[in-house]
């Protein structure tokens, strides 16, 4: 609740700090930017606003009305109705962790369960109570590693197969750090690059190596040599993971990850342009003090009853702000709750079932597309639910025509990797029926035949 100050209060405050006019507080801002004239249209009525916005809303193409083969970090999955109905209960419906947390036992319990579920899924020991999205969680891994070595190791090495947007966000977060050096492995346009190629770039100045599993192209690669060389030099290694894939894959914890981050959107959060999405961040217990954000723990009260407490909270929010290593204070509590409800509902076997459906359907789609003339499935290694297809013409043109036919085509890799023009990243989930896939394959052929 924001309560505006009265003129009397404003005057008293200005007097107290020795400023005559409130405008004097803005003298550091160049005058021409200080109070610009806003070119706003005249006001309209609520009815008119509603009509105009409804027209905009009606212009949207909804993923539910189409057959979607687009993924690249955000995926179309089934969301059980219970997720939304529980999420929207008044007791839960806020994105904030309460400022007097222990009074909200229900919220704390939900956060605790989120942490537990993600820790189990990733095979890690601790998980915090969420970040904004997969990209910012990945950037925080870089921040944490940098501070873990107290700025003495300056290098962060990124696999060329991490999500290109995550790379950009990580670079934005870290570019101001003293002497930081962010480098990337080399991508091979035929996808022949291997995690082992990165080993020669790891040295005793490397703070963190970041890989993605399955990677941005859907590949499931063997990171064991890279993990050992990173650890031999004392570096940390972070895995960016898709939580759906972890329903069938060996956990990053078992593979030796020090940090596991990712996008939680596939866990019961609808596709939407710009979010809100959900970042998760898990690590080993020895790094718990370096973890940004907050951590809820289970305990018992004086009468021996189970209760939840904010065990660790970001120092930066309360004391010693100048020592803060992260600015994450508020989080995606509501989205974390959605993911918690989704994982609880679907359960361990359900997570596996969703993953298997995605895997099988994607492999069916890949085998059918491979039969088309002019198209070539580039992905040769094991893959999860995404694969790369070399197309006979520009992906953008193909997608444009597919859209008119009711299909959302795959991601145009040329838009992120100049060496991958005409390559489409196709995603398939449990939402794509066999009929959808067959129709999509036929449509691909049709739009490239004329």
């Amino acid at each position: 609740m924001f309560i505006p100050h009265t003129e009397v209060e404003k005057d008293a405050m200005l007097k107290s700090i020795g400023v005559k006019d409130i405008k004097d507080l803005f003298t550091d801002v160049p005058e021409k930017y200080r109070f610009p004239k806003l070119n706003l249209p005249p006001g309209v009525t609520e009815l008119e606003v509603m009509t105009e916005l409804s027209e905009y809303a009606a212009a949207n193409e909804l993923v539910g009305d189409m057959a979607c083969f687009l993924g690249a970090g955000a995926y179309h999955h089934y969301i059980p109705a219970v997720v939304d109905s529980l999420l929207r209960r008044g007791e839960f419906y806020t994105a904030y962790t309460p400022y007097q947390p222990e009074i909200s036992q229900g919220t704390l319990q939900a956060v605790f369960e989120f942490q537990t579920l993600i820790a189990n899924l990733t095979g890690m020991e601790v998980c915090n109570a969420s970040h904004y999205d997969g990209a910012t969680a990945t950037a925080e891994a870089g921040v944490m590693a940098y501070h873990h070595f107290r700025g003495k190791r300056k290098k962060i090495l990124l696999s060329p197969a991490i999500h290109p947007h995550y790379r950009e966000v990580l670079c934005s977060y870290l570019c101001g750090f003293e002497d930081i050096e962010i480098s990337s492995g080399t991508l091979q346009a035929d996808l022949s690059d291997q995690p082992d190629d990165l080993i020669k770039q790891v040295d005793d100045q490397t703070a963190l190596v970041v890989v993605q599993y399955p990677d941005f192209f859907g590949r499931i690669q063997d990171f064991s040599n890279l993990v050992s060389s990173a650890h031999q030099t004392g570096a940390l290694i972070a895995f960016v993971t898709n939580p759906t894939a972890l329903g069938v894959l060996k956990t990053p914890g078992e593979l030796g990850a020090d940090i596991v981050v990712g996008e939680g959107q596939p866990l019961g959060i609808p596709l939407s342009y710009g979010g809100p999405y959900l970042g998760y961040f898990a690590t080993r217990k020895e790094y718990v003090r370096k973890l940004a954000g907050r951590l809820v723990g289970e305990t018992s009260d004086a009468l021996g009853r189970r209760g939840y407490v904010l065990t660790l909270t970001a120092r930066e929010q309360h004391i010693r702000r100048e020592k803060a290593t992260s600015n994450i204070c508020s989080n995606q509590g509501l989205m974390a709750l959605a993911a918690t409800i989704y994982m609880s509902l679907v359960g361990k076997h359900g997570m596996r079932q969703v993953a298997e459906l995605c895997y099988q359907k994607a492999h069916y789609a890949a085998s059918e597309i491979a039969k088309l003339s002019g198209f070539k499935v580039i992905t040769r290694e094991p893959f999860f639910h995404e694969f790369v297809v070399k197309c006979p013409t520009a992906v953008n043109d193909i997608n444009h025509e597919l859209l008119d036919m009711g299909f959302i085509g795959g991601y145009d890799l040329g838009s992120s990797y100049s060496e991958m023009q005409d390559n489409m990243l196709v995603a398939v989930t449990e939402m794509n029926t066999k009929e959808d896939i067959d129709a999509f394959v036929a449509a691909l052929q049709e739009v490239t035949n004329d």
Binding site: K152, R289, R315, I319, R320, K323
Partner: protein
């Protein structure tokens, strides 16, 4: 309150013990009492680092507060008490013994003379209200 005679004290509540050109650093009994139960200790420096006087060398967190530990003299770190991170409660139970934090080779042994002796420090603590 315990203030061993053989130590030197800083107004920021660290003690050092000087033996030749080596100084051992910790925080005082008064400091641990003010902090109450210590739950976390982390050294922010490593062996080999050359530090200026008053450099921040460690962080302590208790159930009540968080505090920085300063090195009241300049010198080169020759040893860090790694065990303390796993047993921060030693800062409460044995502040002048097992809870030593680091040892430095003094750059200027004269700097230690400027610190308070036990009596002066005890007097200084008494002047501070709670």
């Amino acid at each position: 309150m315990n203030t061993p005679k053989e130590l030197k004290y800083a107004s920021s509540d660290e003690w050092i013990m000087v033996e030749g050109n080596i100084a051992t650093l910790g925080v005082s009994d008064y400091a641990q009492d003010q902090l109450s139960d210590v739950v976390f200790f982390e050294a922010n420096v490593s062996v080999g680092e050359v530090l200026e006087k008053n450099a921040i060398v460690a962080t302590i967190e208790s159930v009540k507060a968080a505090a920085d530990v300063k090195l009241p003299v300049s010198g080169k770190v020759i040893e860090v008490n790694d065990a303390l991170a796993d047993t921060p409660e030693l800062i409460n139970s044995d502040p002048y013994g097992a809870a030593w934090m680091l040892k430095v080779e003094l750059s200027d042994p004269g700097e230690a003379d400027a610190l308070m002796d036990a009596d002066a420090y005890a007097g200084f603590c008494e002047t501070r209200g709670h």
